[in-house]
């Protein structure tokens, strides 16, 4: 038996947690389960890919990998730009669809709309880029042995470090900044937040921007460590929901912890049961949480 699944699960869990932050924020602040979140992840990855190819075409000498990593700075620059673009895509979706439905005040209609928008976004990617999987870079990576039979690639370590940095930044933003406190206030009680003069529209915009940007980051990492496919984000949707609910809706540390648990459980499942039923493991975890503790680990609201 090898402990490799621990490392793989941790990497997968970090990306799941990053995506789940966006799910838990939109869920608690906008009050609906957003099915498009997975597709924001895919769009983030494809936007990064397209931008990095453009940079590579404009500056052919720039594409060399940095140090031990498989990617060069074009992908980093493209990733940062794509984070902004994915945030704007989420804002555009809100402007075109969700904001108009929100005014009518039925959350469940927004879930239906997001389900439709999700399929449309995903199929558009399939049309534009074809369903065939693709990669950011074809560079081979030599895995570093960490002892106890565990090997990780430099890209995987980079993913873990970046996730930790992004999560820390999110935590500081939510606890120390004005807009972060406003976001938490709206999540607790939107009516009361409005009464004390919090700009709810600005909070909603920030939520979409952050959610989109983090989804893009998760997509880029998933693309770096696994592959890029139009369905990559949609296939992650169930783990994302499981992580957000497991951690407790509205809790950022909870979403990350939930993501890690789901990621570890999935890779343990692959190790001990087999890869065929991988996607069902997140679902089983989700059922267990809903049965035993619907408020999740760190949450208060059922």
């Amino acid at each position: 038996m090898t402990l490799q699944f621990l490392a793989d699960g941790l990497v997968m869990g970090a990306m799941t947690g990053l995506g789940a932050i966006g799910v838990t924020l939109t869920y608690s602040i906008l009050r609906f389960a957003n099915f498009t979140h997975g597709d924001l992840i895919s769009w983030g990855a494809y936007l990064t890919l397209t931008l990095s190819l453009l940079i590579g075409a404009a500056l052919p000498s720039a594409g060399a990998p940095i140090g031990p990593f498989s990617f060069g700075w074009p992908i980093l620059a493209a990733g940062l730009a794509a984070m902004l673009l994915t945030g704007l895509l989420a804002l555009a979706l809100d402007f075109l669809l969700f904001a108009r439905l929100r005014r009518r005040g039925t959350a469940i209609i927004m879930v239906i709309a997001s389900f439709g928008a999700s399929l449309a976004l995903r199929s558009l990617l399939e049309f534009l880029y074809t369903p065939a999987p693709t990669y950011f870079s074809r560079e081979l990576q030599i895995a570093i042995p960490l002892g106890a039979g565990i090997r990780v690639t430099p890209d995987q370590l980079c993913t873990l470090a970046l996730t930790a940095a992004l999560v820390a930044a999110m935590h500081l933003l939510l606890t120390r900044s004005h807009i972060g406190r406003a976001m938490r206030a709206v999540s607790e009680n939107p009516a009361l937040a409005r009464v004390v003069g919090i700009n709810v529209a600005a909070v909603i915009r920030t939520t979409w921007l952050i959610g989109g940007a983090l989804a893009c980051a998760a997509g880029v990492m998933l693309g770096l460590t696994v592959q890029i496919r139009p369905y990559m984000g949609f296939d992650l949707l169930l783990p994302l929901f499981a992580a957000a609910i497991l951690g407790g809706i509205g809790s950022v540390p909870g979403a990350v912890a939930g993501g890690l648990i789901v990621g570890l459980a999935e890779s343990a499942g692959v190790q001990f049961i087999g890869a065929n039923y991988r996607a069902a493991i997140a679902f089983l975890l989700l059922l267990l949480v809903l049965l035993l503790k619907p408020t999740g680990l760190f949450g208060v609201r059922p």
């Binding site: 099915f35 439905l101 879930v111 239906i112 389900f115 439709g116 399929l119 558009l124 929901f241």
Partner: protein
């Protein structure tokens, strides 16, 4: 030529009506009760596979093959899908509405995984073939075959429609809508909201299972790829377009959306070179997604919208000040 057109028309109508039955099932859950089911494809799959296992001839290496009559398969499909819905409902109906959405989404994923991987039960990725087709002995006379099938499926759709319409207009349906509109008020009148929801969810799931079985026997072959989230999505589009809460709307929406879907499919095969058709088919789904969003924004009632239903004992009676 005309003969081809007539056969195609009948085939189109039969398929559209099988979707209409799924749509009627969703209408009990969403239209009447406000239960958001994103796992329609899963319940349809349970029905299709159950009926296939019950009615196909024996196959080495696979469970089932009981060669029962088709009707037994259809009844089995309703029972299996209903039971499956009862389990899902029992877990999630007491929680908030969108947890039901997420759980049903998950159950559809899980069911598709079982269909894909449990080779000994479902035939795996290759699916199950040789599912007996109703009036299969007429298959070499296309018009008679088409007419017989249309008559059978038409009668079945009518029967389901009539039964659900009776239920919706009766006291049971009124309780469902009362719970949907104001759960506290309905509970204060002594109605057990969770129990009614569970009944509605089960009944809707059973009807979806029946429709899945009907589709399996129309085509004679099923595979896991038939039961992807896009199916769920099509059925939702049908119900929203037709008018949720209205059984006539559910049937009309199924025919309209299936018509648009078939037309756009014809357009794809006419305007795109063969190599690009699979790619262009993705655009069909984009178009349906945009259509759903536009309908939700501009005409949330759909084409027909929900009728006002009051008890016939109240209708016409003087309601004094």
């Amino acid at each position: 030529m005309i003969l081809d057109l007539v056969s195609y028309g009948m085939f189109f109508l039969v398929t559209a009506l099988s979707y209409a039955i799924i749509c009627l099932g969703l209408n009990i859950q969403w239209g009447q009760t406000g239960l958001f089911n994103v796992g329609v494809a899963g319940f349809v799959a349970v029905g299709a596979y159950t009926s296939a296992l019950l009615t196909t001839p024996e196959t080495p290496g696979r469970f089932g093959g009981f060669e029962l009559p088709i009707a037994a398969g259809w009844i089995g499909a309703m029972v299996a899908a209903g039971l499956c819905s009862a389990v899902v409902g029992a877990i999630t109906l007491r929680l908030r509405a969108d947890y039901l959405a997420i759980t049903t989404f998950g159950i559809a994923v899980a069911i598709q995984l079982v269909a894909l991987n449990a080779q000994g039960l479902t035939g795996g990725p290759f699916g199950i073939g040789f599912i007996p087709r109703p009036f299969g002995s007429l298959a070499d006379r296309p018009v008679a075959f088409g007419l017989a099938r249309l008559a059978l499926i038409g009668a079945l759709t009518l029967a389901v429609f009539w039964a659900l319409e009776r239920l919706a207009r009766g006291p049971w349906g009124r309780v469902l809508r009362a719970i949907r509109e104001d759960e506290a008020a309905a509970s204060s009148l002594g109605k057990n909201a969770t129990l009614y929801r569970l009944q509605a969810f089960m009944l809707g799931g059973a009807v979806m299972g029946l429709a899945g079985a009907v589709q399996a026997h129309l085509i004679g072959f099923i595979a896991p790829d038939n039961y992807v989230p896009a199916l769920t999505f099509q059925v939702w589009a049908m119900l929203i377009v037709g008018g949720s809460g209205n059984n006539r709307g559910a049937v009309l929406g199924a025919i309209v959306v299936w018509g648009l879907w078939s037309l756009s499919g014809l357009a794809v095969s006419a305007f795109f070179p063969p190599g690009q058709q699979a790619r262009a088919a993705a655009l069909q789904i984009v178009a349906i997604g945009v259509m759903l969003a536009v309908i939700l924004l501009l005409r949330p009632r759909g084409l027909l919208g929900e009728d006002k239903t009051v008890s016939r004992h109240v209708e016409g009676a003087e309601i004094g000040p």
